[in-house]
């Protein structure tokens, strides 16, 4: 199963991923519509990204699709299920926010009366944020592949230049 990974060094904080996420989760996948539509019923206008305060760049908070999802155990309405990926049904959600309370990663976000999460853009080939990112900071690949790439990248960085010591080690 492929997953979304985030490489911080490449990110410049343009916010394209956020806009793409909003547009993808609108009814007709259009950014303008997403701004004008009201998030009720089937029309969805929500992004699954959180803006961090300390760091200026938006950082994707994506669902990790755990093997035994604590959010699923907490769900009282049967809206959350797991089949290869963890999904939640929009219509079945009653907004009790048990999943928000149970997710140890804070990956389920409370929306007005529903709980939303990154669904990895289920019906598309690649998630919208991955497609939108101009810097390739968000990648969508197998975890083994990512780990290997990352190791290579770090090794390259290490050998090519001296990395500064980590600061704030008091």
């Amino acid at each position: 199963m492929r997953e979304i990974f985030f490489i911080k060094d490449r990110c410049v904080g343009c916010g394209a991923c956020k806009a793409a996420c909003v547009a993808e989760h609108t009814k007709n996948h259009h950014l303008y519509d997403s701004l004008s539509s009201v998030p009720m019923g089937r029309k969805r206008r929500t992004d699954r990204y959180k803006q961090t305060i300390t760091e200026e760049v938006p950082h994707p908070v994506r669902c990790l699709h755990c093997d035994e999802p604590p959010c699923m155990e907490g769900c009282i309405s049967g809206a959350i299920g797991r089949a290869d990926r963890v999904y939640s049904k929009w219509d079945a959600c009653v907004g009790c926010f048990m999943c928000v309370m149970n997710c140890p990663f804070g990956a389920v976000l409370p929306f007005f009366n529903k709980a939303v999460r990154c669904d990895q853009c289920l019906f598309t080939e690649k998630p919208a944020c991955v497609r939108a990112c101009p810097q390739n900071a968000i990648v969508y690949m197998e975890s083994n592949e990512f780990e290997e790439n990352e190791r290579k990248r770090r090794w390259r960085d290490k050998t090519q230049k001296e990395i500064p010591l980590l600061k704030a080690k008091a």
């Binding site: 961090t52 300390t54 990790l64 155990e73 140890p104 804070g106």
Partner: protein, 533 residues
């Protein structure tokens, strides 16, 4: 002839169903029989208040329809009551005949606490049948009385108010949701309820019920006040359903005592859900223990930490990847204590056991029991009392200890957001979040794993950066604080949160006090957003 294992599940609630599914995942061919005294398949018990007011039909809240049972090979026996159980003989007598079993899980749930009055117009809210009965009665009702200020009573009151019925609420303590929220946050909710037409009678109990020819006229409290209403709904809380197992040979305290594997003292007999008295991480007992013995506080919390696997085995062995090793405190005295704690687990365990009547706790206990029944060896990590409520668009989550006298509280209150953290030493033991519930799960995880997160939380609050201190933690994740394993969701060792030791220097980090005069103005920003959409 091949003989398969026979599993018997008593109770068709969330614990029983999670148990059945987890048995099925490990044992494809065992016979699984589910016995319930109700006439419905598995339904969502918290949602019966919606059925009560007619917002939803009974079929809507059924989570596993009957063909679902067939699909997974469960035999469902509806409307069957257990008469007698002798666990040593591996036999249970029901109204539909004798049932033999190899492994049994007792997940019969709870029964509502009764009041000493009976008759027409008095209802309890526990089962779907109760809800249907109230629904049939509601057309006659012009005004309702709810007795009980716990989550059940308040939820029933909220459902009635959304259906347009004014509600009078009688509460025996001095505030609503006294087990869940603290004084200030419950005042937030009380104002909201009063704006929407509820009236409260605090510190009161039912003394007398006044009837007219048909139905109720009102209720007289023990202070002599008359509370008018046509229906009385009792939501005082629940007691474990222990009548069947009193003489069955299992150890009973508040509920059925279970060990770390959810097994009772009878071999092959497990308990889960509302009947089980299992390990808890933080509870009121522990709270009193801390406040009574302040000197022993640190060792107690350490015992607690060991108890639910605060330090994993890997961490104890010092077999950490260097990245995490730099993040975790390498204090030799603590490492020594680890040995000590391991020895003390048996001694420390009885006060750490309690009955938690909560949906997620039941689900997790059922899961652990099911896996162990089918031959696994999984340890229950311990439950944390936690509640998530949402009334009139105001979201609130409370977890762990909420009213600790021996603990230190840190407040954050701004723009309709109220957060209260309770610390015991370095670790977080309780939290109340009102208005904004982001990252509640991260806090719950910190409580569960006894992570020393005080520095991070306090520095984030005192520097007034944000109400969501854990977002800065995500920054740490990106800096490489979390391993790739954690990124992939392989949560066996929990979330190793990186620590910032330099945060302890902020001695002047006074808790941020309220800038807001009344809770009303605090709510305004929150509510105006709700009205907009």
């Amino acid at each position: 002839m091949v003989v398969y294992n026979k599993y018997l599940i008593i109770g068709n609630g969330v614990a029983g169903i999670y148990c059945a599914f987890n048995i099925r995942m490990r044992d494809r061919k065992g016979e699984i029989t589910i016995v319930t005294d109700e006439n419905y398949p598995f339904y969502s018990r918290p949602l019966i208040t919606d059925v009560m007011t007619g917002k939803k039909q009974a079929d809507d809240i059924v989570l596993l329809p009957e063909n679902g049972y067939k699909r997974y090979g469960f035999t469902l026996m509806k409307g069957v009551q257990v008469k007698k159980a002798v666990f040593k003989e591996r036999c249970v007598t029901t109204t539909a005949g004798k049932q033999r079993f190899d492994r049994l899980v007792f997940a019969a749930g709870a029964v509502p606490k009764k009041i000493p009055f009976e008759g027409e117009g008095i209802f309890y809210v526990r089962t779907l049948e109760d809800a249907e009965r109230i629904r049939a009665y509601l057309p006659k009702v012009k005004k309702a009385v709810v007795f009980g200020g716990g989550p059940i009573g308040i939820k029933a009151a909220y459902a009635l108010m959304t259906a347009g019925i004014p509600v009078n609420i009688i509460i025996s303590s001095s505030q609503m949701l006294s087990r869940v929220l603290d004084e200030r946050s419950s005042h937030y909710l009380q104002v909201l309820f009063e704006q929407n037409g509820a009236r409260f009678w605090f510190n009161s109990d039912i003394k007398e019920i006044v009837r007219r020819k048909k139905g109720l006229k009102g209720i007289v409290t023990d202070k002599g006040e008359m509370v008018p209403g046509d229906i009385l709904i009792v939501g005082k809380g629940v007691n474990p359903n222990l009548d069947i197992v009193r003489n069955a040979g299992v150890r009973i305290d508040k509920g059925i005592l279970v060990d770390d594997y959810m097994e009772t003292n009878c071999e092959g007999v497990y308990a889960a859900g509302d009947v089980a008295q299992a390990k808890v991480v933080t509870n009121s007992n522990q709270q009193s223990a801390i406040s009574n013995q302040p000197s022993a506080g640190s060792s107690l919390s350490l015992q607690g930490a060991q108890h639910h696997g605060g330090l994993s085995l890997r961490a104890q062995r010092g077999n950490l990847t260097n990245r995490i090793a730099t993040a975790m405190p390498r204090d030799d005295s603590k490492m020594l204590n680890v040995e000590h704690r391991t020895l003390n687990v048996e001694l420390a365990s009885p006060p750490f056991k309690d009955v938690l009547s909560l949906w997620p706790v039941g689900a997790e206990q059922g899961k652990i029991a099911g896996q162990n029944m089918a031959g696994g060896k999984r340890v229950y990590g311990g439950g944390v009392g936690s509640n998530s409520i949402e009334y009139f668009g105001l979201k609130a989550i409370s977890m762990g200890i909420t009213r600790g006298e021996g603990c230190e509280a840190v407040l954050f209150e701004r723009d309709g957001i109220y957060r209260r953290y309770l610390f015991d030493g370095e670790r977080l033991v309780g939290a109340i979040l009102v208005g904004d519930i982001n990252d509640a799960g991260v806090l719950l995880h910190a409580i569960r794993q006894a992570l020393p997160v005080r520095g991070i939380l306090q520095s984030a609050i005192s520097s007034q950066r944000s109400a969501f201190p854990f977002q800065s933690l995500r920054g740490a994740e990106r800096r490489g604080g979390l391993s790739l394993r954690a990124q992939r969701g392989n949560l066996t060792n929990g979330l190793p949160l990186p620590l910032r030791r330099d945060c302890d220097d902020n001695k002047d980090s006074a808790p941020r006090t309220s800038e807001i005069d009344s809770p009303l103005s605090a709510l305004r920003s929150q509510l105006s957003m709700e009205v907009l959409f």
